[in-house]
Symmetry: C2
Subunit: 488 residues, 2 copies
């Protein structure tokens, strides 16, 4: 992220209350009229992709191609300018070369456009000249009350409204699920990758925003807007740096108070990474320990890998938050039980032993079971009628002699690759979850796609790797703990 | 792993040279005649699965069902006993209840069987009585020169020979690739899971061995045998504990000297895990730091998760070992470049900067590229003809002004989800690898299945998660370093 001037424009500036840094984002994220400046007939070109996507997916608002060279673009009436289009314009996507930006801005100001999404590159990221141009444009837009996403960004998508203000080809590869996960990325390339990964993992998304050079709208502003958005429950963030930490802190606090679950990958945690970041954008990734502390204070789970970002985000979307970190590990493999216990212990989960009465009951049925916690019911899970059901009751029940764990993680090894007999295991686990819908249930391991689907529909999370599953539960316990404890 | 008596039987015992602990494994892993004691007509039963698998997959040796109740089993002539079958028997699979083991052993001794694979449970893992029975059986088998795998194990598979001496249903779900990765697991349930995971990831396997109670053959013996096996290049191990560390050390040393790449998940690394292990099997998982040191000394990569075990194993199978840890990170996303730099730095890789001349050349073409290392060629990778090729030449070439990195990691973000344009990127990377076949090439990120296949065929590794990819390269550098440095 290049140096920019947003900190002079927004946030704490005189005469501009803090909320103004994000309040204007309604028009961006729920636009009724979207224009494309530099609209193209070619659906593969930068000025053609957004039109093609919004037409194909059925954006219900007004779609306005702007291009003085054509009277129609992609079958829609085109206008020579934003002013000529008339009417209220919430978002004008700007897909013109940097040299044409000033006149595009003149037009936008004259047309009283609310928000610009500027794809154009060749600005602050390209050196002194571009930086000056960007600064000038941002000051003028600000003076005219126009919010700016970008420049040098991949744009944004608002899935429920079918707004595709992006030139990324990623959404063209197929539709994604709509849901409660928002993705905010400072990097466009990472954003495109994240979108594709979310789709591959069938995550339901609410919004996808890339902030690029952040001439005006910053990562923090997006988080703060999402904090008050009713459709979003989980915010996945990708950060390289932050110019205004107090703005970020305010946003994270708002997200926390609104009960959002925030997972952020913040790069530059090592000297080599920080050097790479400086080389990349001239940005200072900042004091990494300070970010750690800030995130911890506001209940943000910091993910050190993309894998973790998405696994924790998935679990946070699917699962309720637990009443405590008391976790029951159920396994048919003693060995993987130990592996999960190792990981759970490192991650700070509580592995309280099963009550003696429950242990005795299990050992009576399966003498070589592991009755404590992990609870290893061995391959008998599949062949002893009712064993799984009784064990689940003893692990989850809150009567005397039962463990009442607040989270359950089940590793069935390869058992759920089987057919008839495995279906009973799936059904019993789903039934147990239905009796305790307030507790996170996670199944880890391989399974038939049909079982995966059944778990999905029942609100049971499926996470392939046992260690990743444990970490996801630790993140849920962390979110719950943060929600109960006021920030210091 | 329960207490057993192997340490009294093998290894350093008087009159038994160390190599005898594994030399007899030829008969187990390359049998010409396999009997099944307790053979069943039902292909789903414990005594039916191995016969069904070996018939279906085409085991070329002699297959001998033993069951006094039938004259044929699964269409094969059955015999009332091993003795009655006559001829040399390399492996007798024993699928009878524990109570029938003694007479099965009598029969095996009389028939001069070389190896027993004992599926039966209810032995050392079930308490004092079973422990005594197991000890008695092991002593008698040893006296008769019979090697024993198990009891309470899932058996073994030798894929090139189509030997399926297992009752795990996992192999019945479909055939796996044959290749150079051997899996050795003390846990049967983990073994079944690992087999399924390896198949799901399309890893080529040579052998799969589960050691169970280890009355005789131990994890270490299997590793030592695999050390001298020409078909095996990578050994993936899953360990809970080890009774005889010197035997393990000898095996790891042999594997190291033979140039094998060994990756082991050893559970019980935390107090909670060790407690779980003690509850599971009464086994002492030992001093974890001592295992760390032992593994490091013998060039074993210790994987703390199943995910890492398989990712490193995959890379070790596909890639050559690098001449050094000098790694070039190539990206189209500056952000993920930083993320990979963070991970590479934590993992001890060398991220030498590109030579000035190469940096200048790149910046001349793409002014906002990141020219150092990570090398960020931005989205221009797709649109500037020859840019990727020239950059690869400068990263890999060893002429003056070129970087000559010994490993290459490429993150194309979502670009390889595209069609026509992406194919050129794939081809260029494969061409560069063909010019430098002695260097590990890894591509990370999402891609079309056809590109994944093309990379596979060209010997370029594909690892979905960027951080996991970096760790895999670190493991390759570790293997290479260990191979160059004599053990201390």
């Amino acid at each position: 992220m290049p140096q920019a001037i947003a900190s002079r424009l927004a946030g704490n500036g005189p005469g501009r209350p803090p909320e103004s840094s994000w309040a204007g984002l309604d028009a961006l994220l729920h636009p009724r009229a979207v224009a494309v400046v530099g609209a193209s007939d070619n659906p593969d070109r930068i000025g053609g992709v957004p039109l093609a996507l919004m037409r194909e997916r059925g954006f219900a608002g007004r779609l306005i191609p702007v291009n003085p060279k054509y009277s129609t673009v992609q079958g829609l009436s085109a206008f020579p300018s934003l002013v000529a289009a008339g009417g209220e314009i919430d978002v004008a996507i700007v897909a013109v070369p940097a040299a044409a930006l000033e006149s595009a801005l003149d037009d936008a100001i004259a047309a009283h456009v609310k928000t610009l999404v500027i794809f154009s590159s060749g600005l602050a990221e390209s050196g002194e000249l571009g930086r000056n141009l960007q600064e000038k444009l941002a000051l003028r837009a600000h003076a005219a009350g126009i919010r700016v996403l970008g420049p040098n960004c991949l744009g944004m998508m608002s899935f429920q409204n079918k707004v595709y203000a992006t030139f990324s080809p990623a959404p063209r590869a197929g539709e994604n699920r709509t849901g409660d996960i928002a993705i905010v990325s400072q990097s466009g390339a990472f954003g495109a990758f994240a979108f594709s990964l979310a789709r591959a993992r069938e995550l339901g998304m609410s919004y996808w925003i890339t902030t690029g050079n952040e001439a005006d709208i910053e990562f923090a502003d997006c988080v703060q807007w999402l904090a008050q958005d009713g459709k979003t429950r989980v915010i996945l963030g990708y950060m390289e740096g932050c110019r205004d930490t107090s703005r970020l802190e305010r946003a994270l606090q708002a997200a926390r108070e609104a009960g959002k679950r925030v997972v952020i990958t913040k790069v530059g945690r090592t000297a080599a990474g920080a050097a790479a970041a400086a080389a990349h954008t001239g940005a200072d990734t900042g004091d990494d320990a300070a970010y750690d502390a800030l995130f911890r204070r506001h209940g943000v789970w910091r993910a050190s890998t993309v894998e973790e970002l998405f696994t924790v985000g998935y679990a946070a979307s699917v699962c309720p938050l637990p009443a405590s970190a008391r976790t029951g590990l159920l396994t048919v493999s003693g060995g993987v039980g130990i592996l999960m216990a190792d990981e759970a212990s490192s991650a700070g989960l509580d592995l309280d032993e099963m009550p003696q009465r429950a242990q005795q009951a299990l050992l009576k049925e399966v003498p070589y079971a592991g009755p404590r916690n992990p609870v290893d019911i061995t391959g008998q899970a599949l062949t002893t009628p009712g064993l799984l059901e009784r064990t689940l009751a003893n692990m989850l029940g809150t009567q005397d002699g039962q463990a009442g764990y607040d989270m359950l993680l089940f590793f069935p090894a390869a058992a759920l690759l089987g057919a008839a007999i495995a279906r009973k295991v799936v059904d019993e686990l789903i039934a147990a979850h239905a009796r305790h819908p307030d507790r996170p249930f996670v199944v880890t391991g391989l399974m038939q796609p049909a079982y995966r689907q059944a778990f999905r529909e029942a609100g049971v999370a499926v996470i392939d790797d046992p260690s990743a599953a444990v970490r996801a539960l630790a993140a849920l316990a962390f979110f719950a703990q943060s929600a109960r404890t006021p920030a210091v």
